[in-house]
């Protein structure tokens, strides 16, 4: 008998208002329950539709630990299918992306499927005559996920056939995606190259929590950002030398506690939230020549100012992505096991905007999110130390108490001091909700 069975009360007891039990991070049974319940009940990011621009284009990925294929069908719609032949279970595609033409063909026994998953043909089909194949699960073809939504190019899926609607799940939090897309004069993004892929030996939730943890940058990143500032100040250079782009990116990590407090955090229901309500570490980047003019041309000056005046830092979409609107970046925290997470960091081109913006975005990605990134090294060191430290029996609870307000509710949007851990508590509130909504009470 596992320590954490499919038991609603026992799972709910792992989350308290100001602390959470370590089993949430280190227990493999809890992890399996997350895959079965949480990742099935939530709307989970799959990919961007520019990754499959043409009919028959596909992209393979995972929702939680479930292998899926995102594919553009002949009707130009994006479908998300389980990546498993309904015959023997063989994965239909194992390359990361490609074009399959008008149909998928399983390489094992040549069962073939339309790009919406429907069974097309089985070789030597007469062998199934009078066997009742029509009644089988296999005859339905490659199973689609429960529901798919393409929101302004961002494709999300819910594995469970029934559940919360896309609109109810995300609500007003979609404003962060809107702002990222609106920054293109054409109102459109395109993926720019493959993602960085960085393996973390820690639980996926540590990464998600870190996205709105504003009390760590000046501590954990002193080694990289602090040293950068020192080196720049010491460097002999002519008066008024412009900071290089890399310094503009890395230096704000050393901003003061006061800066982060005043930056603000907004939380939305269902575990979504963002840092950088009033300003952020992305606020003071140099203007890129020609861009503002293009935006005014496309939207009018007032609207252009409104779009570019929004400098949200990190927006967490529960359960497992973070986007940065001002620099068109998305990080996907893919759970692999309780103590293993693959982080994929994507960047997007603002269609019709100057290349210089994409150049800064690509630079940000490699400076902060690469397995070769100094800032990445700072963070991973902390996650892995935590993953190991949590095995200590000295204390079984993890503290998420900063700026806690007794009786706080997450049902309404709220804006708080930028160093609050309210967004972490918001995530755990959603965690409990989506973990337990399809669980039974323990058998008496």
């Amino acid at each position: 008998m596992s320590r954490h069975a499919n038991d609603r009360s026992a799972i709910a007891a792992l989350v308290r208002p100001t602390e959470v039990h370590r089993d949430i991070y280190i227990d493999e049974d809890v992890f399996q329950l997350e895959m079965k319940h949480l990742f099935a009940n939530c709307w989970v990011f799959v990919g961007h539709d520019s990754q499959t621009p043409n009919k028959g284009d596909y992209f393979t990925t995972e929702i939680g630990t479930q292998p899926v294929i995102m594919v553009r069908h002949s009707d130009d719609e994006i479908y998300v299918l389980h990546n498993r032949c309904p015959h023997k279970g063989t994965k239909i595609a194992i390359d990361r992306a490609g074009n399959t033409g008008k149909f998928f063909r399983c390489p094992y026994h040549a069962w073939s499927f339309k790009t919406n998953g429907c069974l097309l043909a089985i070789p030597l089909r007469k062998g199934y005559k009078d066997t009742g194949l029509e009644e089988s699960e296999s005859v339905k073809g490659m199973a689609p996920v429960g529901a798919v939504k393409n929101y302004r190019g961002f494709v999300f899926a819910r594995l469970a056939p029934e559940g919360v609607s896309f609109e109810d799940f995300f609500g007003s939090s979609l404003s962060s995606i809107d702002n990222m897309v609106d920054r293109s004069p054409a109102g459109r993004l395109e993926v720019a190259g493959p993602p960085l892929r960085y393996m973390h030996r820690c639980n996926w939730k540590m990464l998600v929590e870190n996205q709105t943890d504003t009390c760590h940058p000046m501590v954990a990143h002193e080694s990289s950002a602090g040293t950068a500032i020192k080196l720049w100040e010491e460097m002999e250079k002519p008066e008024g030398t412009k900071k290089p782009m890399a310094m503009e990116v890395i230096a704000p990590f050393m901003s003061s506690y006061e800066f982060f407090e005043n930056m603000g955090i907004r939380t939305w229901p269902n575990g979504h939230g963002h840092t950088g309500v009033h300003h952020s570490i992305h606020s003071d980047y140099s203007a890129i020549p020609g861009y503002f003019e293009q935006m005014c041309e496309a939207y009018g000056e007032d609207r252009a100012r409104e779009i570019l005046g929004e400098n949200r830092h990190n927006t967490v979409y529960f359960p497992n992505i973070m986007i940065k609107g001002p620099i068109q970046q998305l990080r996907l925290f893919k759970p692999i096991s309780a103590n293993k997470t693959l982080v994929e960091s994507y960047i997007y081109r603002l269609v019709d905007a100057p290349d210089m913006l994409l150049q800064r975005t690509a630079m940000y990605n490699r400076l902060i999110n690469a397995p070769t990134s100094m800032v990445g090294h700072d963070d991973l060191e902390m996650y892995e130390r935590a993953q190991e430290g949590l095995h200590s029996d000295g204390l079984e609870w993890v503290n998420v108490q900063r700026l806690y307000q007794p009786g706080e509710s997450f049902e309404q949007e709220a804006i708080e001091n930028g160093t609050t851990e309210r967004q972490m508590r918001n995530q755990f509130d959603a965690w409990t909700k989506y973990m337990t909504m399809t669980m039974d009470e323990a058998a008496q």
């Binding site: 892929r197 393996m199 020192k230 290089p244 693959l342």
Partner: protein, 160 residues
């Protein structure tokens, strides 16, 4: 040195690898020109340096920052320190143009990085674009292509 021989170029590459393995990073910094670029692409055969992501694409300031960071009191990912080890094949000298002052080598190598109980083995090719500055060879550009550049990695902390 006014005109490096093939052996001079090859010796330079070996000496560079030895400096890295010995942790003589300040000496290693002296091997670079001030406008040097150290590039590790993310894609196999990547052509675009700027508009898609790379693992590294760093100017001298950033390379120097890495070296300074290694020495930091609060560089926790280097407590304890990472050690590295290069096993390099004899470099090919692909270009030796004394008149133009351009020298290009290509070196296949295996690289090992270790810290605590972890050890990572990587296979890679390096292209060095070297120039003569005041009679000394300097690195103007170093491109390192990992054989599995598109794979998922844990930390890679030292210089390949």
């Amino acid at each position: 040195m006014s005109a490096p021989s093939k052996d001079d170029l090859i010796d330079f590459i070996y000496e560079e690898a030895r400096m890295l393995d010995d942790g003589r990073f300040d000496e290693w910094l002296d091997l670079w020109t001030p406008d040097g670029i150290y590039w590790m692409p993310l894609e196999y055969n990547q052509q675009d340096e700027n508009l898609v992501t790379s693992l590294l694409h760093e100017d001298f300031f950033m390379i120097k920052l890495r070296v300074e960071r290694f020495k930091g009191e609060r560089t926790f990912s280097q407590k304890p320190k990472t050690r590295c080890h290069h096993v390099i094949q004899r470099p090919f000298v692909d270009r030796l143009d004394v008149d133009a002052g351009e020298f290009v080598t290509r070196t296949a190598f295996h690289y090992v990085e270790t810290r605590l109980d972890d050890q990572t083995l990587l296979a890679a090719n390096a292209r060095h674009d070297l120039v003569l500055v005041d009679g000394k060879l300097k690195i103007k550009r170093k491109r390192v292509d990992l054989l599995n550049s598109d794979a998922a990695f844990g930390n890679i902390q030292m210089f390949l």
